[in-house]
């Protein structure tokens, strides 16, 4: 046996070709009916009477003594069906009925404004616009990927071990005993060593957080003291040798 190829279309055993395959029109699409079925009811079904009527009535009334005696004429002794042909007939009845019911259900679940082709024109146009929009998005993604690939390595900061990471390329790792949200941002690509100044609170009586450091890989590490006041703290990130701040760090202690 041949192992299927990755494309799933070209192995020798599959015999696939590039031709578009069309289903031929068939002379007959239904099975020949069994001649014995002609002696059944008009719809080809046996009478829907099952089992011992006397016993069934006793189950219905809850009292076997009250049950009417069965005269044997209202029920058909023997099995419910006699094998192959009848099972196939029953099978086709069931599946054809279910297909019709399925179509009705599908129509019920379909959007109420869905009608003929002319009524669906706005929907089709909307789909067309969405398709072009999707293609546009894919092109943008493609261009961004191509641009990123061509950028010098120094402009891309490597990932930190954990914590959040902003979209310019610096990670934040915070150790705290209470809920904290943090965000670091670089204003421009950084190539040299990064340092961080202590964080200061916004209010006049707000405290400071001094244990701020930048670890290799541009990951800012902050240890929030357990007695730090709730509120928002700000800090500056500096690049050694540069004259202006390289970025900022915002930390909110407590709150949501």
């Amino acid at each position: 046996m041949t192992t299927p190829d990755k494309n799933g279309m070209t192995d020798s055993l599959s015999g696939h070709s590039d031709e578009f395959i069309r289903r031929p029109t068939l002379d007959r699409t239904d099975p020949h009916r069994n001649i014995f079925n002609a002696f059944r009811q008009s719809d080809g079904r046996k009478p829907e009477v099952f089992g011992d009527e006397k016993v069934w009535r006793s189950f219905q009334s809850g009292n076997a003594e009250e049950a009417e005696p069965s005269n044997g004429s209202s029920w058909a002794p023997g099995p419910l069906w006699d094998g192959v042909s009848e099972s196939v007939r029953a099978g086709y009845d069931v599946i054809n009925r279910q297909i019709e019911e399925g179509k009705a259900t599908a129509a019920r679940f379909a959007s109420p404004d869905r009608g003929g082709q002319s009524q669906r024109m706005p929907e089709i146009l909307e789909r067309l616009i969405r398709t072009y929009s999707d293609i546009g998005s894919v092109w943008v993604e493609l261009l961004v990927a191509a641009t990123e690939r061509d950028q010098p390595k120094a402009a891309k900061a490597p990932e930190g071990k954990s914590g959040s990471r902003d979209d310019v390329g610096v990670g934040v790792q915070v150790r705290a005993s209470c809920p904290v949200t943090a965000r670091a941002r670089l204003y421009r690509p950084v190539a040299g060593t990064l340092t961080a100044l202590p964080l200061r609170g916004a209010g006049p009586d707000a405290g400071e957080i001094h244990s701020v450091s930048v670890e290799p890989g541009y990951c800012v590490h902050v240890d929030v003291p357990s007695d730090a006041k709730h509120g928002t703290y700000y800090g500056i990130l500096l690049e050694q040798g540069a004259d202006e701040p390289a970025g900022s760090l915002t930390l909110t202690v407590g709150g949501d």
């Binding site: 046996m1 041949t2 192992t3 299927p4 190829d5 990755k6 494309n7 799933g8 279309m9 055993l13 599959s14 015999g15 696939h16 070709s17 395959i21 069309r22 289903r23 031929p24 068939l26 699409t29 099975p31 829907e48 099952f50 089992g51 011992d52 006397k54 016993v55 069934w56 189950f59 076997a64 023997g78 099995p79 419910l80 069906w81 006699d82 094998g83 192959v84 042909s85 009848e86 099972s87 196939v88 029953a90 099978g91 086709y92 009845d93 069931v94 599946i95 279910q98 297909i99 399925g102 179509k103 599908a106 789909r127 969405r130 398709t131 999707d134």
Partner: protein, 341 residues
């Protein structure tokens, strides 16, 4: 295609599906309450008929194996999820030769694992969407939603019959239940999903329904007869269907055939809980099913379904050039009759 060749295809496509499925299941050692038990049923094996049908149909219609495998994994994950829930609902004790998940871990954990597996089945589909586009992705999801709804409706029918101890059923009722509960997930949806992937266009609402139904019905009736015949070789417990009071074609037939005291005895058997059933009572029902010809008639019915499946196969797939996948799909119905487990 011969039975060994069908088996070989099942094993090959099944192995590919299992390999990819492992990527979607976290390491079994991860924990004992979710991901460990979640990998349990998939690791036990199984026939892998559902994913194989999907892959074969997809390849026949020209889809890539990569896309087909992802959808096949999704189907298999959902199937395993439903098996866990079915085992709880049926109070089954063994599955594929081992204790059922709820017997090993308890019902709450098993239920949660089933939920997790069902939701995990979306992940491979999400991965295939960027390749097939949003419109085809939507079609696939729409079909999957229909399959899930039909499967739940079929299960509800069977549960209702047992809950209400329904006695007067016709073979047609059984076939409707099988169509919904078994065929949609086992055969109809795998075929339709494969064709959607390959054709990259909409397919009609009734496409593959007749073929899928007859293959699935032949498979299910055959499964029911095996449950009555088999002893230890069968993956599930022997006569488990009788213990669970399942309304199989044979039981419906028997309910029609029995008279007087025997009918009273059978109705009393069906009205009892599983834990209250004596072994000799189950043996008596089994004997009656065999002695009164219900087993043989069910086998005949399965053969009829397999024949109809072959007829529908010719209508649906006959115009395709000969290939291994075509031969596999063509031989499925007969294979379902000849298998021993």
């Amino acid at each position: 295609m011969s039975e060994p060749a069908i088996q070989e295809t099942l094993e090959e496509y099944g192995a590919m599906t299992r390999d990819l499925m492992a990527h979607y299941l976290p390491t079994p050692e991860a924990d004992h309450y979710l991901y460990g038990p979640a990998a349990d049923y998939p690791l036990r094996g199984g026939k892998m008929m559902r994913p194989s049908i999907c892959i074969a149909t997809a390849r026949l219609f020209g889809a890539s194996l990569e896309d087909a495998l992802k959808v096949a994994v999704s189907i298999e994950l959902l199937h395993n999820a439903l098996l866990i829930h079915d085992d709880i609902e049926d109070e089954s004790e063994t599955r594929r030769g081992q204790p059922t998940l709820h017997m090993k871990h308890g019902i709450p954990i098993a239920l949660n694992v089933g939920d997790a597996l069902a939701l995990s089945s979306l992940r491979p589909l999400i991965h295939v969407f960027p390749r097939i586009g949003p419109w085809m992705g939507l079609k696939l999801i729409e079909d999957m939603e229909r399959m899930a709804r039909e499967t739940a409706e079929g299960q509800a029918m069977e549960l209702a019959w047992r809950h209400d101890n329904t006695l007067r059923l016709a073979p047609e009722d059984y076939l409707v239940m099988v169509l919904k509960k078994t065929c949609w997930l086992a055969t109809i949806f795998p075929c339709r999903a494969g064709a959607l992937l390959g054709s990259r266009s909409s397919i009609s609402e009734d496409a593959f329904m007749r073929f899928g139904f007859f293959v699935g019905a032949a498979f299910q009736i055959s499964d029911d007869t095996l449950n009555i015949e088999a002893e230890a070789i069968y993956g599930k417990e022997a006569c488990g269907d009788l213990l669970e009071g399942k309304r199989t074609l044979m039981l419906i037939d028997l309910l029609n055939l029995l008279r007087g005291d025997d009918l009273h005895r059978l109705v009393a058997f069906l009205s009892r809980k599983r834990s209250e059933l004596a072994e000799d009572e189950t043996g008596w029902v089994r004997e009656k099913i065999i002695d009164l010809g219900c087993l043989n008639r069910a086998r005949s019915a399965a053969r009829g379904m397999a024949g109809a499946a072959q007829h529908e196969f010719d209508l649906t797939f006959g115009h395709f050039p000969q290939s291994r996948d075509k031969a596999f799909l063509s031989g499925l119905a007969c294979w379902s009759l000849s298998r021993s487990h």
